[in-house]
């Protein structure tokens, strides 16, 4: 194979001439736009996925109790501010840590590089609520760090010294970023790895330094991937409740809960959730803008190794330390604390169907991953097959479930499923004189449904980013040779997308292992997952007894994460051969 590759940046303003866009449309637009089947498919998927969100909107629209004077004067100003600051803070930290580490690991050779490359994805296995618990345990006034400092310096009271409170907006932003930055790292890594060596070498030839090439070529090219990764971080901070409650941050999630549970106003809670959805619409719009409409396609399937640059001496060790920091903060610290707790409290955790809970977790996560990937692929591909605004909108809106706090989403799932069950039951009673009872409500199927809605955005992001890299020329060629859109998907895109699909599935798998609030409410009788098992202890303020369960969630997430890493970094040209 000839070693070469080129990129076709399209419509990246303002440099692109309009003529190009026109040619592009003439060549591809007409031929592919007539595919009502794909619009229908996308519409159906969106309808099923969107039902619970619609149920929440329905609750918001039919609320009888009006809490808005109170919400506007005393709740929303604070909640919006804290939500935005937390989202922005966590996103920025995750962006810098994830992108910086990914660039160092992709471009340079330094001590420990290949090990760090793998380790950097592991924090994703730590649930945010576990990380919050671990950090507050360590850094609170009564924790070992402050106690140690007091002994060391002879301080007597809290007034004798200053120590940053981990139970604060800043603390929460740091903790969230520490466990969520791998979303950005993975996206950045995949993007850097697949970038054209030519583009980078041209930049160098034209006199850019290696850092200059990063700022002027690599970063702009990676922008869509980074935006997708950051969007996941931001949405995760918005839907989180466990960690923010533990750390005392008053986000929209917290006010949704107070409105629902303490003021018995589910409709009002749904209205605040609608505000949260509005923020997500805004966020997705910003993401679109951040992508700048730029599309980068490979027009050839050829790669060449980007030669590593060696960083030697103290700079090499500095690079290693920089890359190690996020991993230590996001993984080593909470993991070691969990190991310590599990070692001293194992007996209690091993009782009561622990293995069954582990099996249930794995089963649910695998099912969720499979379905989320399949649906994510359909939704991402539909706009290619039927180039309509509708299919594009369907793809965007399908991710909304991710923005809702888990328990609110669960209520949204309950309502349509129970309505369906009760209709079937009423029909069966009328026609056959038998009761079918509840078929879907309170079943594993309901849980899988909720998981798919929750994590579809995670799956779709990676798949879409990868699909965008496949040149529309390939579609055109396949179609010109007589293939239908479905057949082109099966024979052309699918083989090219397999690593991306595997990566998306593994990411969903790891996320699903951690899911708690929707699982708690929707599960069948006597059904435990690892997360609910841990929560049963946390609820009675004895999370240490659930440490083994928490550790198992983490360990179960490690294997998929390492495989995931290989799927992404394996794409680096030359790394397999060198």
């Amino acid at each position: 194979m000839v070693v070469a590759m080129s990129l076709t940046p399209q419509a990246s303003p303002p440099a692109e001439p309009h003529g190009f866009d026109l040619v592009h449309r003439l060549r591809l637009g007409r031929g592919l736009s007539h595919a009502p089947g794909w619009s229908l498919t996308a519409g159906l998927v969106l309808a099923v996925i969107g039902l619970p969100v619609l149920a929440v909107l329905y609750l918001a629209a039919t609320a009888t109790q009006n809490d808005w004077p109170h919400l506007l004067s005393s709740v929303l100003p604070v909640a919006l501010r804290e939500t935005l600051l937390l989202g922005i803070g966590a996103s920025l930290v995750a962006l810098v840590a994830g992108t910086g580490a990914a660039w160092l690991v992709t471009m340079y050779r330094f001590p420990g590089r290949s090990v760090l490359d793998r380790l950097l994805v592991l924090p994703l296995a730590i649930p945010t609520y576990i990380a919050a618990y671990c950090y507050s345990e360590l850094l609170d006034y009564a924790g070992p760090v402050q106690t140690g400092l007091r002994h060391l310096f002879g301080w007597q009271t809290a007034g004798d010294y200053w120590f940053p409170s981990v139970r604060s907006l800043g603390g929460a932003a740091f903790i969230m970023a520490a466990v969520l930055y791998p979303y950005v790292y993975l996206a950045a890594r995949a993007s850097f790895v697949l970038q054209s060596v030519c583009a980078l070498e041209v930049a160098r030839t034209l006199g850019r330094t290696s850092m200059g090439a990063f700022w002027s070529v690599a970063l702009p090219l990676a922008r869509p991937a980074l935006a997708a990764g950051v969007a996941l971080v931001a949405m995760e901070t918005m839907n989180d409740l466990g960690a923010v409650q533990h750390l005392g941050v008053e986000t929209l999630s917290a006010s949704i809960y107070a409105t629902w549970l303490q003021r018995s106003n589910l409709g009002g809670a749904a209205q605040i959730a609608t505000v949260a959805l509005g923020l997500i619409v805004l966020l997705l719009a910003v993401e679109r803008i951040a992508r700048g409409g730029a599309k980068v396609h490979h027009t050839t399937g050829r790669y060449r190794a980007i030669p590593f640059q060696d960083i030697e001496g103290w700079r090499g060790y500095a690079a290693a330390i920089i890359c190690a920091l996020p991993f230590v903060a996001g993984f080593v610290v909470p993991f070691l604390l969990l190991v310590k707790l599990a070692a001293t409290h194992a007996s209690a955790a091993l009782e009561g169907g622990f293995l069954k809970a582990a099996w249930n977790s794995l089963m649910l996560a695998a099912l969720a991953a499979g379905f989320a990937v399949a649906l994510g692929l359909l939704l991402s591909y539909a706009p290619r097959a039927a180039r309509t605004g509708f299919t594009r909108a369907a793809a965007h809106f399908s991710g909304f479930g991710y923005a809702l706090p888990g328990a609110v989403l669960a209520i949204g799932v309950l309502i349509p499923l129970a309505a369906l069950d009760n209709s079937i039951d009423a029909l069966a009673r009328d026609l056959l004189g038998v009761s079918t009872g509840l078929i879907l409500s309170g079943s594993v199927a309901a849980l899988v449904y909720a998981y798919i809605i929750r994590f579809l955005a995670v799956a779709r992001g990676g798949i879409e980013a990868e699909l965008e890299r496949i040149s529309p020329n390939l579609d055109a060629a396949a179609r010109a040779l007589g293939a239908s859109a479905a057949s082109a998907l099966w024979r052309v895109h699918l083989p090219l997308l397999i690593p991306a699909l595997g990566a998306a599935g593994l990411l969903v798998f790891v996320d699903a292992l951690k899911e708690l609030p929707a699982t708690l409410l929707l599960r069948p009788f006597d059904f435990e997952t690892l997360a609910t098992h841990v929560y049963a202890f946390a609820a009675v303020e004895q999370i240490e007894s659930g440490a083994l369960g928490a550790l198992t969630i983490v360990v179960a997430g490690l294997v998929p994460l390492i495989v995931l890493h290989n799927a992404i970094a394996g794409g680096r040209a030359g790394s397999s051969g060198s």
Binding site: M1, H70, S73, S74, V78, D140, Y141, A142, T147, T157, A158, S165, R167, H246, L247, E250, W260, L261, R263, S264, N265, L266, G301, A366, L367, G370, L414, L417, A418, A419, D421, N422, D425, T436, L438, I439, L440, S441, G442, S443, V444, G502, L520, L521, R523, P524, F525, T532, F537, A539, V540, E541, Q542, E544, V563, A567, G570, G571, R572, A573
Partner: protein, 361 residues
Amino acid sequence: MSMHTLAPTGALIGTLTGAMRALVVPLAATVALSAFGAVAARADGEVNVYSFREPYLIDPILKTFTDETGIKVNVVYSKDGLIERMVAEGRNSPADLLLTQESGLLIQAKAAGVTQPLQSKVIDAAIDASLRDPEGHWFALTRRARVVYASKDRVKQDTITYEELADPKWKGKICIRSGQHTYNIALIASMIAHHGEAETETWLTGLRDNLARKPAGGDREGVRDVQAGLCDLAIGNTYYMAAMLKNPEQKPWADAVKMLFPNAADRGTHVNISGAALAAHAPHRDNAVKLIEFLASPEAQEIYADSNGEYPVIAAAHASDLVKSWGELKADPLPLSEIAGLRKKASELVDKVRFDAGPNS
């Protein structure tokens, strides 16, 4: 993507899909089975419980019930949303019994129409009328007081009132969990009942200014912080004392504090309940009634008292030695329904004074 770079990843993913395939068949079978789980749970000899109460607090009692009656107890535990689940499930709801850790949810369940009245001579004889719904929709099963844990070293006084917590002499000395937590909401609602909204707002602001740190975490962490010296007083429920004493790591926290029962000299200490309600469409109504009657029996009441450190609701049951050592409980006689009615106001006050922002707001 070139074939030579794709090959290893492709093989890897290929192995993965193989493994996935091996998983999918049993998975599909499990889903199919559990889809009928809701139907199967209707068989006789069972009772289905939706529980807001934490599994570790009720498991021992439910096991005893099964041992004695042969009736299997199926449980869904969730920290919130179970009433909404019952509403959505309607007449086909498999739930027989709702267990809650707090009175507001019982009153809410009744208002949502998911409970039914139960006239039981056994229960009416056992549980005082102030601890059950006048129409028989719900019953208290245990009581717990919300008290002040005070440092043995640094706090000299042996009595206290809730009102006094707003006194500036405690500035920077009090630890408490989130104001929006249901236990604090009930306490603040009781303050509104006694003093009115305006006075309670002043009190709550004073309490906020006296906090040593931002309200967060749980009740036990307050006691931990008293032991560590961050605060002198922590607000918490009584049963946490029993739980901490049993935990070797937390025993030092418990040993560092004494329990002060606020307002013991006047109206009495704020008390909340855990309780049960019979589901409106209970498919195993008879078994559910048996379970409620069992939970109100001296036997179950003593398990509650012994393993959880809660106060029994029936006179015939003895509190555990530990609970007895705290002395006679003088409970605030305020009706639970009145507290429930003021919860919304209490929650709004917490927002209004920015209680959860902590002392420096």
